[in-house]
Amino acid sequence: MEAEILARWQFAVTIGYHFIFAPLTIGLSWLIFWLMTRYLRTGDPAARNLARFWINLFAISFVVGVATGLSMEFQFGANWARYSRFVGDIFGPPLAAEVIFTFFLESTFLAVLLLGWKRVSPRAMWFASLMIAIGSTMSAFWILAANSWMQTPDGYSMATGSPVLTDFWAALWNHSTGQRFLHTLVAALMTGSFFMLGISAWLLLKGRHARAARMTLVVSLSVAFVTSVSQLSTGHLHAVQVAHTQPAKLAAFEGLFTTQRHAPLVLFGFLDERNKTVHYAIRAPGLLSFLISFRSSDKVTGLDAFPRSEWPPLRLTFYPFHVMVGIGLYLIFFSILGLALAGRKRLFTARTYLIAAVCTIPLPFVANELGWITAEVGRQPWIVYGVMRTGDATSSNVPAGQVIFSLVFFSLLYIVFTIAWIIAARRELRHGPEEVEAETDIAPEEPA
């Protein structure tokens, strides 16, 4: 049991850390693609330097993502051997696809984008940025397809006691893949755009690289607005799917203890697991029923429909879910405020707003982590929903001492990564996009 808790902690630390960087790189990759498109169109060296600045910031995050991704792969087998044996047959195809279709693509073309400026044409550089954006997005798709299979397994048979793939497409496009991919992709775009928004605001506040900063500020604000608003609908789609396929999880999200018609939506409150209620709750009557089926009279399954042993840990589902939604609403509000300022031509001089934009950088990251906690904790006690319990998934032969050793070891390593990332990012920021000197830079360099 002790080894199981530790193995869970190790997994949570590793993936939680990885999930700081993965959404950021996905989001930034599309913004960089946009910058490269602009450079290709105009041939303006300032546009090129701006793209290079963002590519450098992207690269340091990408590297940390790769390094922690490697440890995730090792960890599956090391700490979760019984799980690996159990689901290998299903997980195989999406994992193989992720490696073959996306990892090579990302890492190869990132090398081109970092080092190829004097060797290949601007068009090839543009193409490389497109390949990275496609690669990182597809990578998210394949791994989310595998993860979604753990939420809503499909396309398999249990004839031999463990799942055997019977229908590749059904397993891949199981009941939650589409919704979860969309929701995560939009979250990644939000993360990237609010990151770019904050960094641009910071450059403006410092009065440096003002022309470049204004441009990325406007673009990232627009993307931030569109994605934040659309996250409402992807989040809604996802919640409806959870209500249908994993009702216990939805009940835990909402703190809904009793099955009822006209189920209210709890906006916020304090969850009391022992007395099965939510204290000081602000409720919107009937809204939960309405959101799920567009009829407020519809019945929503509560936790009372499930034995206690099949409840997910409630507090770790309820609070992360509500805080995530709260952050999402704030981000919508914040981007609308920015557009309103822009409409009055006051965006670039509104110091308070720019400072707030810098302070907003961490929030999408926090929302990502909370969303992930909600999704994974909400699935408990199952590792594969309805098929395998998490307690049966660990390595039977790895004692707690070994797990502690590696947990401490990797936690320290991640702290070192973070420090190194901050140092490298600060150096990039202090340096900023290269300024164009009229006499040296004339046109895009000739390809070698």
Binding site: I60, V64, L70, L115, R119, A448
Partner: protein, 338 residues
């Protein structure tokens, strides 16, 4: 054994070869940082690593993911059984990955520190990968459920440590030859001498391990007893290793490097023919408890889906990998810049 299973065994093998040959040279290059002095030499190493190492690393991720996908019980037994070895190797690899990236952008003061961290990380990972292969060859304590029952300490045995050292010498030689082929002037000659020294160790250890293995572990010579012609593969490997030194001595570094590629493939081939069709031998009961291609492979439906994915994806990967080697080909500049 079905044709599908055999195909997948060969494809996983291809990823292992890809990793050893490609990441081999960049791991070896990184180790050279431990012998380098001054910013110019560090930068030459980093420039040679330049655009390639990241893509090379993906071959390892690929090999690991495919092992999980194709032979789940082997993946589970190996990674949970060799827990500390893998965690430490992973630590070395990660340290290296991060060090490379930060060395690339570091100020002069940080350059030496990050480069040395990169070298140490590489040494650790390469040595431990060798120790892991040594243990796979000699067989491990594996019960009827395919679960490792031995201790972590038992994995540090003389034979496996020797294989670890062999791996170090092999990779260092490989990387040094690459750098000496790709560079000019002082760097070239300094590195060529490093290659020659590590080559001598490489040859000696390869012969030692090849003599020790069948004598100490009879299960490794079974295939050879059945088909005497198979002996040509290890003999060919030794011959190839020998010629690496000859070419290097004649200052034909490019030829020596490609001979090193051939030697690596022949050595991995020797491992395959020694064990085939076993993937992970059980010491207690080699005949029935060992994990083999037949008893570990995923279902036909899963293998077929992955095969289709691979047949579509791999040619494209090879295409753009070839492209990147072409555009970044040629000698690295004195300034170590691309």
């Amino acid at each position: 054994m079905t044709a599908l299973q055999l195909t997948w065994f060969l494809l996983v093998g291809l990823f292992v070869i890809g990793y050893t040959v490609l990441a081999g040279f960049d791991l070896g290059l990184s180790m050279l940082a431990l012998r380098a002095r001054g910013a110019r030499e560090y930068k030459a190493i980093l420039a040679a690593l330049g655009p390639f190492w990241d893509g090379n690393e993906v071959w390892l991720i690929g090999a690991g993911a495919l092992l999980f996908a194709v032979f789940p019980p082997v993946y589970a037994a190996l990674f949970s059984g060799f827990y500390l070895l893998f965690m430490l190797a992973l630590f070395g690899l990660i340290l290296r990955v991060v060090s490379i990236e930060f060395a690339r952008t570091a100020e002069p003061a940080g350059l030496a520190a990050w480069s040395i961290a990169m070298g140490l990380g590489s040494v650790l990972a390469v040595f431990l990968f060798g120790v892991i292969i040594g243990n796979v060859l000699r067989g491990i304590s594996l019960d009827g459920e395919g679960i490792f029952t031995g201790t972590q300490v038992s994995l540090f045995n003389i034979f496996s440590i020797l294989v670890g050292m062999l791996n170090l010498a092999m990779i260092l030689t490989h990387g040094a030859l690459y750098l000496s082929w790709k560079s000019d002037g002082r760097t070239r000659h300094k590195v060529r001498r490093v290659a020659q020294a590590s080559w001598a160790l490489y040859l000696a250890l390869a012969i030692l391990v090849m003599v020790m293995a069948p004598v100490q572990f009879p299960h490794l010579s079974r295939n050879f007893d059945g088909m005497r012609a198979l002996w040509l593969i290890p003999l060919f490997a030794i011959g190839a290793i020998f010629f690496i030194g000859v070419w290097n001595d004649l200052r034909r570094e490019k030829l020596a490097f490609f001979t090193s590629v051939v030697a690596i493939v022949a050595l991995l081939g020797t491992i395959v023919v020694s064990l085939f069709p076993i993937l992970l031998p059980s010491q207690q009961n080699p005949d029935t408890w060992s994990l083999t291609i037949m008893n570990s492979a995923s279902s036909p439906a899963s293998l077929t889906a992955m095969l289709i994915i691979t047949l579509i994806g791999l040619p494209i990967v090879i295409l753009y990998t070839a492209w990147i080697y072409r555009i970044f080909g040629g000698k690295i500049g004195e300034e170590g810049e691309y």
